[in-house]
């Protein structure tokens, strides 16, 4: 089994060439696009993220409203909806009611924009910190799975006051 020391040395070694390669291959236009995505994601995180515990659907509404307020900017909308997905997945991974439905919703939304703007999974992933290998694999897995159906029990707000 890999020791923590070993694992970290590997991670450090891998991170440097990836950074260089990514940087070397990026045009200024792509760099600017990444900045727009990062800012949109950060804005969504700041505005909506903590609502997901209080009420999954308040989070969903918050992201949707933010997205609607930028309906004329596809790139910003991509950043918003991509964070919508990543934020929902943070709740999915700990079994929060309604989170999977929200994740599916935002996955569908950002995929349309991603395709329209021709942005790769890796580039998009770089806009929000985290393990891209796992995030992208989970995205693909979720796309292959049927959309979860809302039941009476989880179709409503959580209303849990934290």
């Amino acid at each position: 089994m890999t020791s923590p020391v070993h694992a970290c040395l590997i991670a450090l070694a891998l991170s440097m060439p990836t950074v260089s390669l990514t940087h070397a291959g990026q045009s200024q236009e792509a760099d600017e696009a990444l900045t727009v995505l990062q800012n949109a994601a950060k804005d969504t995180q700041k505005t909506c993220f903590m609502r997901i515990h209080f009420d999954t659907f308040q989070y969903q509404d918050c992201v949707t409203e933010l997205s609607a307020s930028h309906h004329d900017n596809d790139l910003v909308n991509l950043g918003i909806n991509y964070f919508g997905y990543v934020g929902a997945m943070d709740a999915v991974r700990t079994g929060m009611l309604g989170a999977e439905q929200s994740a599916h919703l935002f996955l569908g939304q950002f995929r349309k924009l991603q395709k329209k703007l021709n942005i790769s999974d890796q580039s998009l992933c770089a806009s929000i910190p985290g393990n891209c290998n796992i995030r992208i694999a989970l995205m693909k897995k979720m796309e292959q799975a049927p959309t979860p159906v809302l039941t009476d029990r989880d179709a409503s707000s959580n209303h849990h006051r934290h």
């Binding site: 970290c8 991170s15 940087h23 760099d31 993220f49 991974r93 029990r153 409503s156 707000s157 006051r161």
Partner: protein, 618 residues
């Protein structure tokens, strides 16, 4: 992003990996600014931490976590987690690794609890937390749900006033001795005495070293719970720094904060120590602290292991409902301080899981705790299965055509009945006129006739929200009703059916409010310009009197709407005379159903809202 920014971004990324590794490698590398560990006299201390347990003695129905698989880096494995008997086993296992261990909590151990705990006034959870070895915990906002006197009782013991001994309180040998663990509340001052509600700190000695613990909750507790009246909640940073400094002056080697406030990350799996995308209220708190080594946090129900790059403080959170436990290892040099610290979030993996990735452990139930949980379960089941009343016809939730999703823009019979129950719960002296609940306030319908149990009603209204009344003028009431079809209750994207935009969120009214609305007038008007409700059709009260726009009406609703203007019904926050009725939603509902015995079952409620222009499925 320009080149400079790109370099900075990736340099930051690399640095964060380095910081994460430094944290992970703590025992090997030590820390800058502190002496390297001397194996001869270093004391190893283990903290086992949990937060936001909320009385989930049994595993929560949906409790899972995603684990990374060391043999397949692009895969995650979902496992079932949680339950007090499994937590007990994990704690025993961790304690066996290091006898210098203590179990700590970061608040919300109780409150918003399932029936197994709430039926005993949460005494069940307090007892079991003591049995599994919890020594000290911060208070969270939910500890105050039933007020400060009740929280003092949970700490000090005694039966709950006004409750049935042996059934609702003091369920174990007709006694309740109080918590075996100590609640800490360093920032909670009782306004009556100007004294702290509970001790602020706890000091524990392990061999030649002392560990000082400071426990506190968020300053926003009064906004998060109704029971915080008469208490002042001081600023977290000021309070922590005061006690941490005092600890250091006393020669305490390690300072640990148990804080009911937190953040969240954008991690994809459990125990991602790179702490990606951390955000939330925890950040300014951590960055404002001095002389603190570790923070065990809570409140946001997230899971993370982070090291703040500016202060070096290790801060953790372990999800919620006992699904995860944080295992924190400190190496402490007597007279000097903490020389290394590391933490792992460990999933409480039940033996319902057949297989887990390499490096994870499936736990067996602790038999002693399992027996206790089963005893409380049997007690609560007896109450849950008791018939509360009878209905003559089903009270369903209406779904959208062709789907199983709730139609939020219609009356649900169960919603009407619960609104009637809310109105009936208000004291006669209050002279309440109407009651309203949001459709999301009803979780499920009663799809049968005949006997209705507590479990049936709890499934319909499980939130545990307190009921309030609030005064609205006739004009405000009209505005409130218009908000049902205004953005964002009416989505930006039209939800068309038969050329009708069917969006909206219809408040479920009591029988004392009837009115007509006209869908053809078009939804989504800006606030202040809505015109869907036919004002002349509104009738109020048992005698169905026409609405007077200048008269004040008393409206009963739950805390979600009354206090927070939830579901975008912001007009509630413009009301006056907000008053807590002192009744919880489920209590009101149960009391109402008890008025309908077998020989006089509840008839189906009449419709209160008319829409002649709506399609038939409304």
């Amino acid at each position: 992003m320009n080149i400079f920014k790109a370099k900075k971004f990736f340099a930051t990324l690399w640095l964060s990996v380095l910081i994460g590794c430094t944290s992970t490698l703590g025992p090997q590398l030590g820390q800058s600014g502190v002496p390297a560990a001397d194996p001869a006299n270093t004391v190893k201390v283990k903290l086992i931490a949990l937060n936001d347990f909320h009385g989930y003695l049994n595993r929560s129905e949906n409790a899972v976590v995603y684990l990374s698989d060391p043999d397949n880096p692009t895969e995650v494995v979902e496992v079932e987690v949680g339950g007090a008997p499994y937590i007990a086993s994990l704690i025993k296992k961790l304690k066996a690794e290091n006898p210098n261990a203590m179990v700590v909590g970061a608040g919300d151990l109780v409150g918003a609890s399932p029936a197994i705990s709430s039926f005993t006034q949460d005494e069940a959870t307090i007892n079991i937390m003591g049995q599994i070895g919890l020594e000290v915990s911060a208070v969270g906002n939910h500890e105050f749900d039933r007020g400060k006197q009740e929280l003092r009782r949970l700490q000090n013991g005694g039966c709950a006033p006004g409750k049935v001994i042996g059934s609702d309180t003091c369920v174990k040998d007709n006694r309740f001795e109080g918590a075996k663990f100590r609640y800490l509340a360093a920032n909670v001052i009782d306004n009556q005495t100007n004294q702290l509600l509970f001790p602020p700190t706890h000091l524990k000695t392990f061999g030649d070293v002392k560990v000082g613990l400071i426990g506190l909750t968020l300053t926003g507790t009064p906004q998060a719970t109704r029971g915080a009246a008469g208490l002042t909640f001081e600023d977290e940073v000021t309070v922590i720094n005061r006690h941490a400094k005092s600890f250091k002056q006393q020669g305490v080697e390690a300072v640990v904060v148990l804080l009911h406030q937190g953040g969240g990350t954008t991690a994809s799996t459990l125990n991602d120590k790179s702490c990606p995308g951390l955000s939330g209220a925890i950040i300014p708190i951590v960055q404002g602290l001095k002389d603190v080594d570790v923070i065990v946090s809570g409140h946001t129900h997230r899971e993370y292991v982070c090291t703040d790059p500016s202060t070096g403080i290790l801060h953790t959170q372990a999800n919620y409902y006992g699904n995860v436990v944080t295992d924190i290892d400190l190496e402490i040099v007597p007279g000097k301080g903490v020389v290394s610290k590391q933490a792992n979030n460990i999933a409480v993996i039940t033996d319902k899981n057949q297989k887990v990735p390499r490096g994870y452990t499936i736990l067996a139930k602790d038999p002693e705790i399992e027996r206790e949980v089963q005893r409380y379960d049997a007690l609560s089941r007896k109450k849950r299965e008791a018939v509360q009343g009878y209905i003559a016809a089903p009270l369903p939730i209406i779904t959208l055509p062709g789907t199983s999703s709730r139609n939020n823009n219609v009356e649900h019979l169960i919603g009407n009945v619960i609104a009637d129950a809310y109105l009936a719960s208000a004291p006669a002296a209050a002279k309440a006129d109407i009651a309203l609940i949001t459709p999301g306030g009803v979780r499920s319908g009663l799809n049968k006739t005949g006997p209705i149990t507590y479990d049936d009603l709890f499934a319909a209204t499980p939130f545990g929200n307190n009921l309030f009344y609030v005064d609205l003028t006739g004009k405000q009431l009209v505005r409130l009703l218009e908000q049902q079809w205004e953005e964002p209750n009416c989505k930006n994207k039209p939800q068309m059916r038969n050329n009708i935009n069917m969006c909206g969120r219809l408040l479920q009214p009591s029988s004392t409010l009837t009115y007509e609305w006209d869908v053809s007038r078009g939804p989504g008007k800006p606030t202040g310009q809505g015109n869907l409700v036919k004002i002349e059709s509104i009738r109020i009260g048992p005698n169905q009197e026409p609405l007077d726009l200048n008269k004040t009406y008393r409206v009963v609703t739950d805390s979600f709407l009354a206090e927070e203007g939830g579901d975008h019904f912001t007009m509630f926050k413009e009301g006056t005379g907000l008053q807590d009725i002192g009744v919880v939603d489920i209590e009101a509902t149960v009391s109402y159903f008890q008025k309908f015995p077998k020989n006089a079952p509840m008839p189906p409620p009449k419709r209160r809202v008319t829409c002649k222009t709506c399609p038939s499925f409304f």
